[in-house]
């Protein structure tokens, strides 16, 4: 357990500014997505194994609680993907961009681009939720 404390203490206490934030977010969003994905593959597989249960799974996805979770999930996928592309590009072809100033500004670009994709997607998803779960906008 002291290992756990050391590692988690490092996550919290290290003061690495943008790079630190990018790392933590990459980790959390990756783990969040793979947790969802595991459940999602199994519930999709119901269409073949137990089709009569598939709509019960979809009903969960249509709930307000999951609708909110979905907004975060989409953030996770967008941020993790864009940041992952940044990591892959720098590691594979643009190693000199790991230089501290460039790396820092690239994190800000990553966050900006993520918000640019995520905010419109959120508007649409929240609108769908308000239409179907709250009867707004003529739903």
């Amino acid at each position: 357990m002291s290992r756990l404390k050391t590692a988690l203490g490092g996550y919290a206490g290290y003061q690495g500014r943008e790079g630190h934030l990018a790392f933590l977010l990459h980790r959390v969003t990756g783990l969040g997505t793979v947790l969802f994905l595991t459940i999602h593959i199994v519930d999709t597989a119901l269409v073949y194994f137990r089709p009569e249960l598939y709509m019960d799974a979809v009903a969960l996805y249509r709930s307000t609680l999951f609708g909110i979770g979905e907004v975060f999930l989409v953030f996770c996928v967008f941020y993790h993907g864009i940041n992952g592309l940044r990591i892959a590009a720098f590691d594979l072809f643009l190693k000199k961009n790991w230089q501290i100033q460039t790396a820092r500004s690239s994190v800000r670009w990553t966050l900006g681009l993520t918000l640019l994709l995520w905010l419109p997607a959120t508007v649409i998803m929240v609108r769908n939720l308000l239409i179907h779960n709250f009867g707004l906008f003529g739903g």
Binding site: R3, L4, A7, R27, G30, L31, T33, V34, L37, T38, I41, V42, T44, A45, L46, V47, Y48, F49, P51, E52, Y54, M55, V58, Y61, R62, F66, G67, E70, L73, V74, V77, F78, G81, G84, L85, I87, A88, D91, L92, A121, I124, M125, N128, I131, H132
Partner: protein, 124 residues
């Protein structure tokens, strides 16, 4: 701690390191495309058995889902392995983690693939 075969270990982790990056580039198209389509354009309120049957009537979409399944889940499970290796320092324990993750990965991937090839079955 038991002796570690550093040569072998390093080469596997090198492959994994590269695989995370190349599969990631592929996943930009596969995962972003899927999420934009299912969550944003279609939305969960329009998804049901008929919808999945309609999509899987097209083998192109089945192959798309198969690639997504293969790459996203392998990438994600290897990511989990990477994260856990920061916490687990004993070779013996890490081997147990690897075996457990391999089993979960195999079982879930096979379930997903069975559904993609088997398609939507009628409700009894």
């Amino acid at each position: 701690m038991s002796a570690v075969n550093l040569e072998k270990r390093r080469s596997f982790d090198q492959i994994a390191w590269n695989a995370m990056r190349y599969s990631g580039v592929l996943l930009i198209f596969l995962a972003f495309g899927h999420v934009l389509l299912q969550d944003v354009i279609v939305g969960v309120h329009r998804i049901d058995l008929d919808y999945v049957a309609m999509r899987w009537a097209n083998w192109g979409w089945r192959m798309y889902d198969l690639f997504l399944l293969a790459f996203a889940f392998a990438h994600g499970m290897n990511g989990v392995r990477q994260v856990l290796s920061d916490f687990v320092h004993q070779e013996r324990h890490m081997r147990a983690v690897n075996v457990a993750l391999l089993v979960v990965w195999l079982v879930v991937t096979l379930m997903g693939a069975a559904a993609i090839f088997g398609g939507v079955r009628p409700v009894q």
